[in-house]
Symmetry: C2
Subunit: 141 residues, 2 copies
Amino acid sequence: MSPTAVEGCVFCAIVAGETPADLVVDDDDFVAFLDQRPVFKGHVLLVPRPHVVTLPDLPAELRDGFLAHAQRLATAVVEGLGAQGSFVAVNNTVSQSVPHLHLHVVPRTRGDGLRGFFWPRTKYADGERAAYAAKLRAALG
Amino acid sequence: MSPTAVEGCVFCAIVAGETPADLVVDDDDFVAFLDQRPVFKGHVLLVPRPHVVTLPDLPAELRDGFLAHAQRLATAVVEGLGAQGSFVAVNNTVSQSVPHLHLHVVPRTRGDGLRGFFWPRTKYADGERAAYAAKLRAALG
């Protein structure tokens, strides 16, 4: 087990090789494997080997490799599976099924029945946009 | 205009300052601004200044900065807006409304009515998982 492995974490168990998975990436820093219940077949989860919970927790030295793998996986679902595009996403805390950072790469095809944001959009009231932007700028420091 | 700016690209126009936007990040390589039609208020789009279409097209030298900004924005929607988490996503080609790479950072709150994957999941038939994994490994080289 890695020194950062968390007892009971299902992704730490895959990282450690204790739970079998259909691995598609397996290197010093990351593993990627098929989601057991894919949105579409070929749906992959990219996971850093160290146990970190959310995207902001990913150590700086792993950022480049994490995004490089995301790029390669997004290309692979197109070239390897005949998808026309991909959906790449991370849920942080809310809707995060496993509290070990995982990036979804889902193959997409036009007419597959999903929508880009499948969700109702809302609108800002007058002046509200500026207030939200100011709060975010303040939080960004 | 940047040397890579594409005529008629609405995000290149924001990058160039020709179209106003509620900017929350504005540096040498990236801008981030409020989505005009947010899933939830405070929904931000992070865009590289050079015109690239999809995530795999992002130049390697911008990967670390892109993900660092994504981390900072995911933290900012929690710290600045009181969200409990975030949804961070890129649509590549399919469902991609503007063909200039943009990463969505959406504030999330438990009970906000969205679901992690709001989509039906499918299942692999016997042996099918191994076949999909093999195709992806081959495409990854």
